[in-house]
Symmetry: C2
DNA sequence: CAGGATCCATATGGATACTG
DNA sequence: CAGTATCCATATGGATCCTG
């Protein structure tokens, strides 16, 4: 691997982790992998998140084309958030994270 | 999926992203996937990192059993950092990140 | 229900200089 | 070369209350 390749790879990791990292972005994406959800569902399932943070992160993810939002056609003033086609592709990373966690969480997170 | 399963999955994502997230932990692990490196190699390749941050993150990763350190047997006072067996397993996640980045970085990171 | 407004604590990380 | 020591800016995120 050339020095140049190495830097690109490191840059990639930096960028992706910026996109899905932080306290809530990964969890939001992981939850939305299952199906689109309303604001309040997100708020209730992502235990501990406040509306301010939630809307901020959703907007960030929208800006980065990972998430879309639309007013629910069913209920009056509810809004539904879901993964864009683009956002769905991140599931490959989420799956890898789940797999790793399942295999290793005991070893790392418990015996400290 | 039960509500309980969902929360476990979300928790997993939270935990793993805490472990490999942040500004430098992912990049450090990605770089060490290739081979063990000396402190100064890490410092030079991870452009922009300062020694204080580097040692702090290395210690964090050591505490979490992802990284080991040992005094180089070759050169006098150099120290070598590498992935533990455990740390190596995270390569599966790094690989997924690389793959995703290669496929999607243009779409997400450029047209903003 | 969806989201905005304010206020605030602290963690994160950067700059710089120094030491064994 | 491998770290330490200080100092400091700001981003991050939490708490609480409010509104269309």
């Amino acid at each position: 691997m050339t020095e140049e390749d190495r830097k690109i790879r490191i840059r990639d990791v930096t960028d992706v982790l910026e996109l899905i990292g932080g306290r809530w972005r990964g969890p939001i994406l992981a939850y939305l992998c299952e199906s689109p959800r309303r604001f309040s569902e997100l708020k209730d399932t992502l235990e501990g998140i406040t509306p301010r943070i939630l809307i901020k992160e959703l907007r960030y993810l929208e800006m980065n084309k990972m998430v879309y939002s639309e007013k629910s056609t069913i209920s009056g003033n509810s809004v539904v958030y879901g993964l864009t086609e683009h956002g769905e592709s991140i599931e490959s990373v989420i799956v890898a994270i789940h797999a790793w966690a399942k295999e290793h969480r005991m070893k790392v997170f418990t015996d400290q």
